[in-house]
Amino acid sequence: MLDLLFRALIGGLGVAAVAGPLGAFVVWRRMAYFGDTLAHSALLGVALGFLFDINLNLAIIVLCVGLALVLVTLQKKHIIATDTLLGILAHSSLSLGLVAVSFLDNIRIDLMAYLFGDLLAISQTDVYWIYGGGLAVIALLIAFWKPLLAMTVNEELAKVEGYPVEAIRLLLMLLVALVIAVAMKIVGVLLITSLMIIPAATARKLSNTPVQMASIASMLGCLSVCGGLWASYQWDTPTGPSVVVCAAFLFLFAYTLPFKRLS
């Protein structure tokens, strides 16, 4: 039992640590709904992964990136308002995923685990995936921190100064897709966005610089995972939602108690 909890903790911490900094970008660029859309489509990735018998994480990443590209293309055509477009894609891909899963007669899929996460079902391979993917995300974030931030602050200025803005935007989407793929096991497709944006939003109250906000978001995410796991162990509550509830409590604390920003 303790072994299981330990693995869950290690996995959860890994996910929270990368979801924090990326969540900061999601908050800054107002991409919360975009993240949601990608996350919802991840279920379709799972179904397709089973269908074609390929690695699930890989299927999710490919599908998320594909969807992100479709989204950007449609956005440029200005057919319909972006939030409407996101709503259409999010829910139709989620529904498509659910329908596709129902066709998989010969495989039993624990749907609840994919929707809301099941931290305790995490395997050793999952932990490897989390840490492999997580390290890749962190490394890319550090390597491209300045261009990513410059683009976030002002795309036109960044472009005039010679940053390859289109490529950087694509990189950010790829990173979001990666995080979704590795975080799905922990909190499920419906709650992934919350693990990115709640710690980041809480961190905003406590920080003065982008780096501070990203690292505090990481720490708060890890704290939420610890709290959620403990609550789950104590009261036998579902782990994914417990982690999110914990993050939400931290958010409430930060914004109601008179904390001072770091300087």
């Binding site: 960044a158 100064e161 610089t209």
Partner: protein, 266 residues
């Protein structure tokens, strides 16, 4: 003759069958201040965006000198309030910036005391100066300023124009400015280009203000009190750095709304 940095050759832009720009000829030389004027919707911003490479011309050609390096100052700066960012960090985002140059550049534009201020609490004039500093940090030989005095009161506008002129004198760079207000900007301009989809007229400020097409758009100078007659003021001595630096600059870290210690009355 000084180096020609940019030349527009019959540039035209058509978007969805709407002509935004038509047959634009224009050039900017090193050391020259060119001001672009024109009514709303006349294509000033489109022209600038074309020069910056943010928009493609549909006809004509744009020549850029091979040494051209643009410092761009956008009309305004919107930074999402969820992004904590100090002036120092904002300026450090310039591609390939020499971080040691940040403070001297801020001194040059007269806001060294704002180094550690959050960008969200700056006044209109302070924001413009931060943007100007960012443009300068790109080590430009052409400054492109899109309505550089927007949201700045008249005194501040005069100060900013003086500052821009002194920067031109110091760096010898070309300057392309977009402006609405005619009388203040003309005093500092070598060449005025008045556009309304096409180039209505261009030349020295004196020449342009006498031009019938200019007068049709902006009225006859002197006929209206709001358009004062322009004049060079060569006897004018002005401290372009502004000397109202407050003593308690150290408090500028504090972003609480009650703190006005770093308020710079530009």
């Amino acid at each position: 003759m000084s180096k020609q940095l940019v030349a527009f050759d019959k540039i035209g832009i058509t978007f969805n069958d709407r002509v935004l720009l038509n047959n634009i000829d224009m050039a900017i030389n090193e050391g020259e201040i060119v001001t672009l004027i024109g009514p709303n919707g006349s294509g000033k911003s489109t022209l600038i965006r074309t020069l910056l490479g943010l928009q493609e011309a549909t006809s004509g050609q744009l020549f850029r000198h091979k040494t051209l390096r643009i410092g761009y100052m956008p009309q305004k700066l919107h930074i999402d309030p969820t992004l904590p960012l100090t002036v120092k960090h904002f300026l450090a985002l310039v591609r390939g910036v020499d971080k040691a140059q940040i403070l001297p550049t801020l001194e040059k534009v007269g806001i060294a005391h704002l180094l550690n201020s959050q960008v969200h609490v700056l006044s209109g004039g302070e924001t413009q100066r931060v943007l100007l500093a960012r443009a300068l940090l790109n080590k430009p030989n052409l400054l492109v300023l899109d309505e550089p005095v927007q949201g700045v009161d008249v005194n501040g506008q005069v100060e900013l124009y003086n500052l821009i002129e002194s920067i031109r004198n110091e760096l010898g760079c070309g300057v392309l400015m977009v402006s609405h207000d005619l009388h203040l900007v003309m005093a500092k301009t070598d060449t005025v280009v008045c556009i309304n989809q096409h180039v209505c007229c261009s030349g020295s400020p004196q020449h342009v203000t006498k031009h019938p097409e200019y007068q049709a758009l902006f009225g006859v100078p002197g006929a209206d009190e709001s358009i004062a007659i322009y004049a060079h003021q060569h006897d004018h001595v002005h401290d372009e750095h502004g000397d109202v630096l407050s003593a308690n600059d150290k408090a500028s870290n504090n972003t609480a709304p009650s703190s006005h210690a770093n308020c710079h009355h530009a």
